[in-house]
């Protein structure tokens, strides 16, 4: 009993020291205050994958009311800037090549006659150098042309009436996609770099030796370092989700308890990666370096920015080794779709598995440094 109590007293003492150190660290403070604000603004308000203000050109050889109505209908989808008329193909292609247009619509001379016969065709040239935008633009224009009909007759009845519904996000807005995983990005940044820099910085200043000289064990020191960061991570989770709810009206659909349950193994796994980085780096500058180049690919491969389901085999499985992959799956399930604990058992299990492996690796690297 007393041994257990003295163990936790040691952990508490180290945790108190750590919290004090962090409170006086300018870089750390700017990271936990400025970064959430910047990222929330960027992802909630600034960045979109969906096209907007798309410049396009029209080569209208028909010059009839029918062709002008088609152009008007495409314009009415709201994704385009007012079209620029071009006199021939070379002019249009030159604009595409110079990047001054993304799409070129070609309406043939016989357009109106063909439309009345029900055999009208138009051509759409897209700038393939921007595949995401071009693919979507192609789909939007196809929807307009499929509905187009000659004269006053209404649109032709569809062969199969497909009724669509987008669940959890009716307007299919990109910002919900980013905001749901935002806290995953913030916590990756925080845990990896703070842990790595903290340990390396102490080694540089020689304070590690001082701590090793204390009557505390290596385990107590590690726990003492981890406790304040786990606490800060949970506070960030709470504050960021509330801010996203207040500012963008996007509140977590699932329970807060489940959010906390999936966050803890993720934070611990990220901290373990931080410890591993500290074992690799010889100076603080190097540790920041390595953290940056560990964080960037994990943002790209985990699926917080682009859907991992679309990545090719091999790359997709590689991303499965990252804690952030499973955490963002769980976050999206709980925050956007209101999943319960049972629904996130798979990502939770994967996170725990990764945590065990990372802890084993970290404890294998750490004693040598402490000794």
């Amino acid at each position: 009993m007393t041994r257990a109590r003295s163990f936790w007293t040691g952990v508490w003492a180290i945790a108190y020291r750590e919290a004090t150190v962090l409170r006086h660290d300018q870089a750390f403070l700017s990271m936990i205050i400025a970064q959430p604000i910047i990222m929330m603004t960027l992802f909630g308000w600034g960045l979109r994958n969906e096209p907007a203000n798309v410049p396009w050109v029209v080569l209208d050889r028909s010059q009839t009311t029918a062709s002008r109505r088609l152009v008007g209908d495409i314009q009415a989808t709201g994704y385009f800037l007012p079209p620029v008329a071009v006199p021939d193909y070379p002019h249009g292609e030159a604009r595409l090549r110079a990047g001054k247009a993304i799409a070129m619509l070609v309406v043939p001379q016989e357009f109106r006659r063909d439309l009345e016969r029900g055999a009208a065709r138009v051509q759409l040239l897209l700038d393939g150098s921007d595949p995401l935008t071009s693919a979507r633009i192609g789909a939007y224009v196809a929807q307009v042309t499929a509905r187009a009909a000659p004269g006053r007759a209404g649109p032709p009845p569809p062969r199969i009436d497909a009724r669509q519904r987008f669940w959890f996000n009716r307007t299919l807005s990109d910002s919900h996609f980013f905001l749901a995983a935002l806290v995953g990005m913030l916590l990756t940044n925080l845990c990896l770099s703070t842990m790595a820099q903290g340990i390396v910085g102490e080694r540089e200043r020689g304070t590690y030796e001082q701590m090793a000289a204390l009557p505390t064990t290596a385990l107590q020191i590690v726990l003492g370092k981890i406790v304040p960061l786990v606490g800060i991570s949970l506070v960030i989770l709470l504050v960021v989700q509330c801010a996203v709810g207040v500012v963008f009206g996007f509140w977590p659909q699932g329970s807060w308890a489940v959010l906390v349950v999936v966050t803890i193994p993720f934070v611990l796994a990220s901290l373990a990666i931080g410890v591993l980085i500290s074992a690799l780096a010889r100076s603080t500058a190097q540790s920041v370096f390595i953290s940056v180049f560990a964080i960037l690919p994990s943002f790209v491969l985990s699926g917080v920015m682009m859907p991992y389901e679309l990545m090719p085999d091999g790359v997709r499985q590689l991303g499965g080794l990252l804690p952030l992959r499973w955490y963002q799956i769980a976050l999206r399930a709980v925050i956007a779709r209101g999943a319960g604990l049972v629904d996130v058992l798979v990502p939770l299990g994967a996170l725990t598995g990764l945590l065990v492996v990372l802890l084993a690796l970290a404890s294998w690297r750490l004693p040598r440094r402490l000794g």
Binding site: A52, G99, A139, A148, P157, F177, V288, M306, D343, V346
Partner: protein
Amino acid sequence: MSWRRLRTLVQREVRATFRDPFTVAVLITVPLAALLTFGFVLSTEVNELPLAVLDADDTPASRRLLADIDASDAFRVEPVRNRAELERGLVRGRTTAAVVIPPGFGRRAERSDGVRPPEVQLSYDGAEAVLAGNAEGALRALVGASGAALVGAGSAGGIALTTRALFNPTLDGRPFMVAGVFGFVLSFLTTLITAVTIVNERLTGTFDQLQVTPATAIEIVLGKLLPLGAVFSLDLLLMMVLAGIVLGVWPQGNVVVFLLVSMGYVFMSLALGLVISASSVTAAEAVQKTVMFSIPLVQLSGFAFPIRSMPTILQWLTEVFPATHYIRITRAIYIRAAALDTLLPELLWLAVFAALLAWLAVRTVEARA
């Protein structure tokens, strides 16, 4: 300016750089790793996506429709027993899209009077906005095509649309990303390396030693930047070859122009690193400043997100970053084989920025003397 002194400075710099294995490893591996990581991830094509299917009709017509969907590479059909199971799959994120065929589908398809067409219900997981958007396109096309075969090509409505993507007919994501990675690596890594090496020199006092030699400020700046510039030019070539061999993306435009513009851009970013180093006390601080500068770089330069879709204020802001202009030039030359004269405004902006940074870099070194 004396060439002999400059040569000595360059030699010193080369030796100093190659003595540190960490820097050398970073300089070679990071660009190549970034190229491979980013190069593979962007795709617009839906491939073997799990699709929950509830066939409440179970007639030859409905089975035919499902067989058609299953036969495509886009979806992998996973039958479910009831709506609750379908819903659970969506909530868990196991399936991103779902099809429900209500009873009466087969009967209506047989009658095909055009008044009450057979009906299907398509559901998507909107939380995965990008994926849902892509799945929607693929699924609609499949249902439409299969429906035409089922019901018989009746009244052909609408306008036939022929779509052709220039420069990249398959809308492959790789050229887009490769061209962007050049901008990302050459902006970020260059700035970072100069900032760190110079701060470190200042800390160890070797920078002060340089300043008491007869070398002028311009010579010191050039002596610093030329060797690093050479290393990054080598990186540039390595990346180009790797992108060509591994990802199959070769520059479509003029390679010489691309290399010249890129090298100019490298020197500009190196100068930026030198300026950042002046305002940092420790190397860690220099790295952190560079990273703070680089977050908007990735997100606002058009590397990953289209600038056109941003709010107007942000669009203006992006124009200030030299990386935005460089990435535009890279994509134009690399993918669209654009002629040089169409890129003049972008080049002009880069030149202005380069002149400004060069002046600032020399001032920085002078001020410390």
